[in-house]
Symmetry: C2
Subunit: 182 residues, 2 copies
DNA sequence: ATTGCATATGCAAAAACTTTTATATAAATT
DNA sequence: AATTTATATAAAAGTTTTTGCATATGCAAT
């Protein structure tokens, strides 16, 4: 279990529907633990069946009905014991590095193109993180614990994006140095 | 498919047995695309069935027999077309950040402990990368393409480990500032 | 008006992929 | 005697991704 925990953590804030959880994911934890909305709905069903959350249907007239989920005591216990278990080491899947390992046998113009797209990607993401930082964390020295965690998540995003962005430039520089075809 | 491609890339160098591939994985691409040895054997079977690799049993007396796999032409074609397809964005699973999002509701002594373990983890890994760098890439300016790719992979490892290591210290500093119980 | 697209809301099933757990043999090393 | 290294397989369990279905409003463009 793992996505399950991310969902439970989201529900610590307040009860939410699957749709809301998905939306917030996209702006927050989702950067460190991706989940599609289908996955979230499915996981919520499992969690409800296991008794960790309780769902309540809210009738709506203008929109399809929502099912608002909240943590049960059992869910809180599960979160607590999860928080005390050793954290899984971070897992990364970097297809681009796999491609780099094939340099010499693949067209390096293609690889340079990918590196450029990646540079743009990291640049955009960094800009996004920085805008959130500016808007929501003007004074990091005094934050209540819940906000500290989010702030640190953002900081993690920022430092890793900065690093990978710099790496993209370095990689492009190196590959530009030897402008032969692949 | 993805692990499949990492395996095919490994076979670009030379024909290898599953065991060898696994061993090299652990020291190289595996840092960017994890695979257990069981996974590798299984994937090799699939690749052989699909005709992308060809396996040949080598009788051994002192050790169990090995099956040495090599790329087929078809496998090379597959690699080529894979290299031209858009690269998947990197995927990360950072359970630690999920836990940080729960700060305020979980024991922060536990979280600090995890952060310390993570700092050690990144410190060790950085040291490892740096040792490989010192041993194998003394002169990065003149490398043949194949080596360039590996060098860049290593560099990626180094810059991201440096960044996350610094982040761990920052996080520990912030959490030490507010020494309340969770 | 109508078409099409985006947003809001949810479900289900299949396919793909990864991880875990077992099972084997046998030499080398501690 | 126990552990590690070398070599490989298989089944099960778990997770993630993909694909497709549904309903319903609002908005923008034809």
């Amino acid at each position: 279990m793992a996505l399950a925990h991310a969902i439970l953590v989201s529900l610590l804030d307040r009860p939410q529907s699957g749709y809301e959880i998905g939306k917030r994911f996209d702006r927050t934890v989702g950067f460190f633990w991706k989940a599609s909305h289908q996955q979230i709905y499915q996981e919520l069903h499992k969690l409800a069946k296991a008794g960790l959350v309780r769902g309540e249907t809210v009738e709506q007239t203008e929109r399809p009905n929502r099912i608002v989920y909240e943590l049960t005591d059992c869910g809180r216990d599960a979160l607590d014991s999860w928080s005390r278990r050793a954290t899984d080491p971070p897992s990364v899947k970097e297809e681009l590095i796999v491609k780099l390992f094939a340099l010499g046998d693949v067209d390096d113009g293609v690889i340079r193109g990918e590196l450029e797209r990646r540079r743009d990607f990291h640049r955009d993401r960094l800009a996004y993180y920085e805008s959130v930082m500016a808007a929501h964390y003007p004074d990091p020295a005094r934050l209540r614990p819940r906000q500290q965690g989010r702030y640190l998540g953002l900081r993690m995003g920022i430092v890793t994006e900065q690093a990978t962005l710099a790496w993209c430039d370095e990689a492009l520089g190196l590959l530009a140095g030897a402008p032969a075809g692949g």
